[in-house]
């Protein structure tokens, strides 16, 4: 039978199985962020022309390990923790099938270790996309398959817990929006894992010698069903966290629960189709296929993101105005708790994700414009704008709340924590920007030596491109310091943090921790107002930048092609 404890901060009834599983998954995630982040730093230092740290073999090894450990292992372990949190805990429910959840955990961990060993051995530097005809050692694929099946078990436990919570009526009405967002992530995850199984199992057989041939185009089509969709799992999970943080810190309710849920529905319907934007220059696929999947469908998914981008700050504005922060357009924002890393991380990620990741994504996802930047370092620039300053920064932000709350400990380095989101967010935001700048000038991605020193035909990039790759290195160092501080703070808090003094003690100066977390995050309901003028002004600024950048790129395309 399930056992519970009551959280002294939030009043949540916490299933002890869920408690333990959330902790283990989250800690494992952070460990892999450390490993993967280190490899990222090595990669960035190698791509800094004046430093050029690693030799070619080690560079591709580090790049493979980086992509796998951060994109796959860090994000997905953290997301499994979030799935358990948003189901069992936010719904006040018991966790169903904890044994299966543990089997899933161990499969993921063992799978991740197997693949890491294969990569570190040096015979599997195929990068995380592992396109045939490049072949990795068989255990490289085996590890990923184990990891994916483990994650699928996690999704199963999540859906089962939702189902039982509903049956046992542990909550009233519809599930809260945060849980709905997590469910969106879980739904996309199931499709992601199925696509992965369809292609990676045969590829594994191929590496074992049981199959003679894997078709490259076929591989790319199906693999990106997994590769792209897994990014949409990240987006959905990250947005669920935004709503959660707005609720926890401000008691904010969504402006309209219906509109926000519909925006998540747009994700479920359309986001995964945009996988085709990875195939825009692939031969053999028709324009109808490419354009249907990347324009008509993609724009509807982007509409979903813009709705969230509007309603998350809108919900905060509405909540702040209710508390009397009504002066002018922006008092609600200037008086927000900018020194609290939970808020600062989330606010930065909303802005950076929109401006850096969002706008560049729509640009590149347009069939014609894609040609400007295809396979250049603009692409990593774009996705460090989504998955790093968006997802990773958001996960860091919510960790500053989850870890002290679940472990009931004080942060060990609260002073450092204040600066951490800015260091990491601005550092990696700059890195993304410089990579995009260099990519616009044609610098390739996944390339060990942009001077082409030992190639038959040389090519000189403009000096600005070299400069930007250098600045990218500097920014990456700044971001890495930010990441290191986060990891230090989390591990330190768990290991050596002082136990929290129960309730009574005054709340931390800047965090207006609302006792009504339980209310806003765990129930269905809207703020009941649309009076958010500040948010509309911000949204207009975003839209204008978006449109300008988009059309500037069309202009630029015309000059690249030189048709006149």
């Amino acid at each position: 039978m399930a056992e519970f404890r009551t959280c002294p901060d939030t009043g949540f009834k916490i299933d002890l199985n869920a408690d333990k599983l959330i902790k283990w998954n989250a800690v494992t995630a952070v460990v892999f962020l450390l490993i993967g982040g280190l490899f990222g730093l090595l990669v960035a230092l190698t791509r800094w022309p004046a430093v050029h740290l690693l030799d070619a073999d080690l560079f591709y090894l580090a790049l493979t390990a980086h992509g796998l450990d951060v994109l796959l292992v860090w994000c997905i372990f953290f997301e499994i923790a979030l799935l358990y949190f948003t189901s069992a805990i936010l719904l006040n429910a018991r966790m169903v099938f904890p044994k299966i959840a543990w089997i899933g955990y161990w499969m993921m961990l063992i799978g991740a270790l197997i693949t890491n060993v294969a990569v570190l051995r040096g015979d599997s530097s195929v990068m995380f996309t592992s396109y045939p005809p490049m072949m990795a050692a068989q255990d490289f694929y085996l590890g990923i398959i184990l990891f994916a099946v483990g994650a699928l078990l996690g999704c199963l436990v999540f859906f089962a817990t939702l189902h039982v919570a509903r049956k046992e009526k542990t909550y009233e009405g519809s599930i809260p929006l945060v849980t709905f967002g997590a469910m969106t992530a879980a739904i996309i995850a199931v499709f992601t894992i199925l696509s992965g199984a369809i292609i990676l199992v045969p590829t594994w057989f191929w590496s074992l010698g049981l199959l003679s041939h894997i078709d490259t185009i076929m591989y790319r089509v199906i693999w990106w069903g997994m590769g792209h969709s897994s990014q949409q799992v990240n987006v959905a999970a990250q947005i669920a966290c935004w709503y959660a943080i707005a609720a926890i810190l401000f008691g904010a309710k969504p402006l309209s629960e219906k509109v926000s849920r519909t925006a998540f529905l747009l994700y479920i319907l359309f986001l995964q189709l945009a996988s085709a934007h990875h195939l825009l220059v692939d031969p053999g696929l028709s324009s109808e296929y490419k354009i249907f999947n990347t324009s008509y469908a993609l724009y509807l998914a982007v509409l979903g993101s813009m709705i969230h981008g509007l309603t998350v700050p809108g919900a905060i504005e509405a909540a702040q105005r209710k508390k009397g922060l009504n002066k002018g357009l922006f008092e609600w924002l200037t008086k927000a708790p900018w020194g609290n890393p939970v808020f600062a991380g989330m606010a930065l990620s909303v802005v950076l994700f929109g401006f850096l990741g969002g706008i560049s994504g729509v640009m590149m996802g347009t069939e014609q414009l894609n040609l400007i930047t295809h396979n250049t370092i603009y692409v990593p620039g774009h996705f460090h704008g989504t998955v790093v300053v968006g997802t990773t920064l958001t996960f860091m932000a919510i960790s500053y709340w989850i870890v002290p709350t679940l472990w009931q400990k004080e942060l060990v380095f609260p002073g450092l924590a204040k600066w951490q989101p800015y260091l990491f967010g601005i550092g990696m935001g700059l890195a993304a920007t410089f990579m995009m700048g260099a990519g616009t000038l044609g610098v390739p991605r996944r390339h060990w030596d942009m001077t082409f020193a030992d190639s038959a035909m040389g090519f000189d990039f403009p000096a600005a491109a070299n400069l930007m790759m250098g600045l990218n290195g500097v920014a990456a160092v700044m971001g890495s310091i930010g990441a290191a501080i986060f990891i230090l703070n989390m591990v330190g808090t768990i290991l050596w943090g002082k136990a929290k003094v129960p309730a009574a003690a005054a709340p931390a100066e800047e965090a207006p921790a609302e006792p009504n977390v339980t209310g806003a995050a765990t129930s269905y309901g809207s703020a009941g107002t649309m009076e958010v003028p500040g948010t509309f002004v911000l949204a207009m600024i975003f839209l204008v930048s978006f449109v300008l950048y988009y059309f500037v790129n069309w202009k630029y395309l015309s000059s690249v092609w030189g048709l006149s």
Binding site: L162, H163, S174, V221, L265, Q272, G284, Y289
Partner: protein, 55 residues
């Protein structure tokens, strides 16, 4: 699907279609798998198979 018949409070009022849809994880899961399977994977695989092989 018994989930569809009664509202949160167990009232007899007709629940709007959209709300029924959004309240049903199973239905959403099916849609979220079938739609990209057909429009992205199956369509893409069919086009790939249709590419003639070099002789």
């Amino acid at each position: 699907m018994s989930d569809f018949d009664t509202g949160p409070g167990g009232t007899d009022e007709k629940i709007p279609f959209m709300q029924q849809l959004l309240d049903s994880p199973l239905l959403l899961l099916v849609i979220g798998i079938v739609s990209p399977m057909v429009l992205y994977i199956v369509w893409g695989v069919m086009e790939t198979i249709a590419i003639p092989l070099a002789q």
